[in-house]
Structure formats: structure tokens, C-alpha cells
């Protein structure tokens, strides 16, 4: 399938959102709000729930399902408060020794006056740094659109999984076409060049696993995620925090370390 078709599928309005994944994978979910500095960002849902018998911290970007909720959720584009709220929950997870699951689905961190004056760059940077040394297991799953730094801010994990029709990109294909070629009609070409599909990213080792989407039936996806997450967290429970953080560091350290020296 050509890359731009995946882009369209990843952005499809009927595609399940973060809240659907929470509802279908976890039980007894309790949402916890706010960043304790400025406000509560509805573009990110955070809380705790059970993964089978295991309490876990859940962080999910939420695009919204209809016009009204999309506006409320700012179409899944976080302000700095969304990242700070996520980080607060991650630190609580660390304190109470709970694994963390992040669901990524955003076209990017919001570009606006409030976002900038409250430190969008700073908020993302702090998450990257802090996630690197979290002493509990972290799995991030790209369920729809993984838009650049706004996605990576929840993506510094032990393993990064991706749904078959999700995308993950340094810039939107539209942005790439207009900045690089000054030609918005080259969006499809840009989508190909950016290597943003799950298959491309598995080959580049940016992601560790592709979750297949059979027959547009997300029941299978939820079931597979539930089992895989449980198995993965059980496995990492025996690892010391030192090994956990060292492995996470190495996972990101490897990008560009080997193939650039001539």
C-alpha cells in the first residue's frame, strides 16, 4: 500500500481514539486530571486502571469523536499542560512501581500563542529527559498519527509498537511538501520519502512491533494489545531499574551511531 493511503487511514475520523483503547483494554480505569501548574489539557487523558490483574498508569492522546469533542480535545494537539500532566502521572507510576502505557495519536504539539508562552518546547524536552530514566517499564503504542515532537514526548519507551495503519513522522507530508518543495501537490511524494509507515519504521528499527489490523475489527487489536502488554510487563518485572534504564538508553542511543562514519 502506498504511504499516503496509510496517512489517510491513520487520520480517518471513524478510527478508534485513545479513549476506545482505554475502555477496551483496561478495567476499573480512573481518570486523573491536571498538571498542577496551570490547567487540565483535554487532549491527553491520564489515569490508572487494571491490565488484567496488574495496576498500570495509562496516558492517551485523545482526538475526540465528534465536532464538539474534537474542539474540546483540540483535535489531539496538546498544550504544554498535556505533557506536564503526563509527566506527573509518570512520576506517580514510578513512586508506586506501576508500568506505564502511552497511546500516541496526535498530528503534533499545538502551535499557538498560549502553547509557546507556557513553554511547549520546554515541556516536551523535560518529558524526553525524564522518561529516559523512569525506573518502571514503559511501552508506547502509536495508534493513529504520530506527529513529530508532540508524539515523541510520550514515546521514549522500552518498546514502541505501532498499529498497521498508523504513521509516525518528523513532519506532516503536507508540511514537508510545502517547506521543501514549495508545492503542496507533492504531498503524496513527501509521504513516500519520509518513511512514515509502520513497515518502513520497523525496518529502520524505530519501532519494535507492528500490531496487525484485521478486517477493520479492532476487537482483535485490543485483545492482542492486552495480552502482549501483559506478557511484556511480566517479563520486565524481573529487571532491575538499572537494567531497565540502561536498555532504554541504548534503544535510543543506537540511532545514527553506526552508519554515519565514512
Amino acid at each position: 500500500m502506498e504511504a499516503y493511503k496509510r496517512v489517510a487511514l491513520a487520520r480517518k475520523k471513524t478510527r478508534p481514539t485513545g479513549q476506545d483503547f482505554i475502555n477496551n483494554i483496561f478495567t476499573d480505569f480512573i481518570e486523573l486530571h491536571g498538571d498542577r501548574y496551570f490547567g487540565d489539557d483535554p487532549a491527553v487523558i491520564t489515569g490508572i486502571g487494571y491490565l488484567l490483574d496488574m495496576p498500570v498508569t495509562i496516558i492517551a492522546q485523545e482526538r475526540g469523536k465528534n465536532t464538539k469533542s474534537r474542539i474540546k480535545r483540540n483535535f489531539g494537539s496538546s498544550h504544554p499542560e498535556g505533557y506536564r500532566k503526563a509527566l506527573r502521572q509518570m512520576h506517580l507510576a514510578e513512586k508506586f512501581n506501576r508500568p506505564i502505557v502511552c497511546f500516541i495519536d496526535t498530528s503534533g504539539a499545538f502551535c499557538g500563542i498560549g502553547a509557546e508562552e507556557r513553554g511547549q518546547g520546554h515541556a516536551i524536552a523535560q518529558n524526553l529527559m525524564e522518561m529516559m530514566s523512569l525506573k518502571v517499564p514503559v511501552i508506547s503504542i502509536i495508534i493513529g498519527e504520530g506527529g513529530s515532537g508532540g508524539a515523541l514526548a510520550l514515546g521514549v519507551a522500552d518498546e514502541v509498537w505501532m498499529l498497521e495503519n498508523a504513521i509516525y513522522s518528523v513532519i506532516s507530508p503536507e508540511g514537508c511538501a510545502s517547506i521543501l518543495w514549495k508545492d503542496p501537490s507533492k504531498t503524496k511524494e513527501a509521504a513516500n520519502c519520509l518513511k512514515l509507515t509502520a513497515q518502513d519504521l520497523l525496518e529502520l528499527e524505530v519501532i519494535d512491533e507492528i500490531i496487525s489490523e484485521n478486517h477493520r475489527d479492532f476487537k482483535n487489536v485490543y485483545r492482542e494489545l492486552k495480552l502482549n502488554l501483559y506478557k511484556r510487563f511480566r517479563k520486565s518485572q524481573i529487571l532491575s531499574p538499572e537494567i531497565l534504564t540502561q536498555t532504554r538508553y541504548n534503544r535510543f542511543r543506537k540511532f545514527g551511531a553506526l552508519d554515519i562514519t565514512k
Binding site: 504539539a109 499545538f110 502551535c111 499557538g112 500563542i113 502553547a115 509557546e116 508562552e117 507556557r118 513553554g119 511547549q120 518546547g121 520546554h122 516536551i124 524536552a125 523535560q126 524526553l128 529527559m129 525524564e130 529516559m132 530514566s133 513529530s148 515532537g149 515523541l152 514526548a153 514515546g155 521514549v156 509516525y168 513522522s169 518528523v170 513532519i171 514537508c176 517547506i179 521543501l180 514549495k182 520519502c193 519520509l194 518513511k195 512514515l196 519504521l201 529502520l204 524505530v206 538508553y249 535510543f252 542511543r253 540511532f255 545514527g256 551511531a257 552508519d259 554515519i260 562514519t261 565514512k262
Partner: protein
């Protein structure tokens, strides 16, 4: 040979560029005078050279390249460059990227968008990085990310403070997700250096944006900025397109970030070295002997 106007300015959405050419290049005829982009007054190039490339009339900081900045900060003869031969390859086979890299190398006389190494500032041993605006707008690809991470790892191992000058248009889109991953990688390097109890001072210069702002530029213990430097996650044009309104004057400039609490201080170029020396002293950084870090 390079002649004026042969190379177009790097295509980037950010603002106008006011390049200061390297005086050392004989192929570029030295201009006698330069006009200040801010107050439009003419200044003798030699006066600007002797004044940290600051407009004597209005204080405007002309953009300078990495080597010029290095020479202003580091004790003469004390700098040892690291990994200067790392060059980028086009792993994603992105159309036109090799040509862009070739142009950037010719234009900047550098192999990549950052210079790293060790040296002395006022006698203090430091690990230093200086980003290079003339190499594809200092955009961060794998080599930039690797050199910065290697520097933080070296500094952690040798217990050195890191001083870093940032200038960047953000992640380099021709390297796709591998460029984005550099944000996480460099942040990991900064975190380990920080956890080892070591000092990192960042000096943000015009412009520092995108993926660099959202990673190591905003992770320092002490964050300084040059007057009027644009410091942003999303550039002003992107924001204007998103919200469809004009931005207030001074938005995302260093003074604005100071007011909002995101930088510790604004330090003009002529005071930067002195300020760094005082900060290093206040952190009880040991002064090194002559055997370390000299050429």
C-alpha cells in the same frame, strides 16, 4: 570558488538571514561596510569584527558562524575538536539530500551543523558545542545528534561541565524519523550528565527552534540567551498560519522568554565569556593544567 549569490540561502521558513561571512576566506572579497538590519546604519566591517559583531549604534547582534563564536568564547589555542570528520549519509534516499549536503559543506566550510570538542574558558576545562547556522540552518540530523550525545558522554566520563551554543531550524526532515530520534538520544545524554551532578549551561542564539528547542536547548541547568534571539518550538509563521492572526511584536524573542520564566538571563555577546567564567567559578569547577585540552 565561492562567489556572492551563487548559493541561495538555505530554504527555511524562518525569518531573514543576515550572514556574516568568514573573513578568513580569500575567495570572498571583504566588504568595507555593513548595513545593520535593525537600525539600517552603516558600520565598518573592521569595527564590527572588533565589537563581537554587535552593531555599535543599536546593539543588534549580527549572525555569526560557529568558528567565530568559538573564538570569542574559548581561550586561544586551547580547543581540541572532536569527531570533525563525521559526515551525513542519505540513508532514507531522500531526493536531493546529497546535493543539499554538498552545498551546505561548500557554503559553511564545515562537515556538519555542530562543532564539538574540549577546551578552556578562563582556564576552566569545559566540553563545548557550538551549532553552525550556515550548515542547513543548524538543523539536527543523525550526525548533529551523535556529536552532541558523544560530547555529553565524554563530559560525563571526564567530569567536565558542558557549555553549548544553540542555533537551529529544528529536526532535519530529510532524515525522517531518524532525525526525530536524535531528540530522545541527546536528551538521554543530557540526563546522564545531569544525574552525575555535572553542570550544563546553554546559550540560546538566534534562531533556536523546533526539535532543538524541544530537546537539549531546554534541558540545561542554566539557560542564557542572546538579546532578541528568536527562541521557539513552532516558528512564528507556522503559528500565524495555524491561528490566522498576526503575532505581537517581540513574541518568542529572548526578552519574552525571560519575562515568561524560560531563560535565566539575557547576556550580550561581549559579556558572555566573562559571565560563563563567573558561573563556572561559582560551581567550583576545578581549573585544569596546561596538559589537558590544548592543541
Amino acid at each position: 570558488m565561492i562567489s556572492k549569490g551563487l548559493f541561495k540561502k538555505p530554504k527555511n521558513e524562518l525569518e531573514d538571514h543576515h550572514w556574516v561571512k568568514r573573513q578568513s576566506d580569500p575567495a570572498i572579497p571583504s566588504e568595507l561596510c555593513r548595513s545593520c538590519p535593525s537600525c539600517k546604519q552603516l558600520s565598518f566591517t573592521s569595527d564590527l569584527d572588533n565589537n563581537f559583531h554587535i552593531c555599535p549604534k543599536c546593539g543588534y547582534h549580527f549572525r555569526i558562524n560557529g568558528r567565530q563564536r568559538l573564538n570569542m568564547i574559548i581561550d586561544p589555542g586551547s580547543f581540541t575538536e572532536h569527531h570533525q570528520n563525521l559526515i551525513s549519509t542519505n540513508r532514507l534516499e531522500f531526493p536531493g539530500y546529497e546535493e543539499k549536503l554538498e552545498q551546505a559543506t561548500l557554503f559553511s566550510h564545515e562537515n556538519e551543523g555542530v562543532i564539538t570538542g574540549i577546551g578552556k574558558i578562563g582556564g576552566y576545562d569545559v566540553a563545548l558545542f557550538v551549532m553552525e547556522v550556515t550548515f542547513m540552518m543548524g538543523s539536527m540530523g543523525q550526525v548533529v545528534g551523535e556529536k552532541i550525545t558523544l560530547l555529553f558522554e565524554y563530559a560525563t566520563e571526564h567530569h567536565l561541565p558542558v557549555i553549548g551554543f544553540t542555533v537551529s531550524g529544528g529536526a532535519r526532515m530529510q532524515e525522517g524519523l531518524l532525525a526525530l530520534m536524535q531528540m530522545a538520544k541527546t536528551s538521554g545524554g543530557v540526563k546522564r550528565h545531569s544525574d552525575a551532578g555535572l553542570l550544563y549551561i546553554a546559550v540560546l542564539t538566534d534562531p533556536t527552534t523546533g526539535g532543538v528547542t524541544a530537546s537539549f536547548a531546554m534541558e540545561a541547568d542554566i539557560t542564557l540567551a542572546e538579546p532578541e534571539a528568536l527562541i521557539a518550538f513552532a516558528g512564528p509563521r507556522v503559528i500565524e498560519q495555524t491561528i490566522r492572526q498576526r503575532l505581537p511584536k517581540g513574541f518568542q524573542r529572548a526578552e519574552f522568554l525571560l519575562e515568561k520564566g524560560f531563560v535565566d538571563g539575557i547576556v550580550p555577546r561581549n559579556l558572555q565569556k566573562d559571565t560563563l567564567i563567573r558561573l563556572l567559578s561559582l560551581h567550583s569547577i576545578p581549573k585544569g593544567g596546561d596538559d589537558h585540552g590544548s592543541l
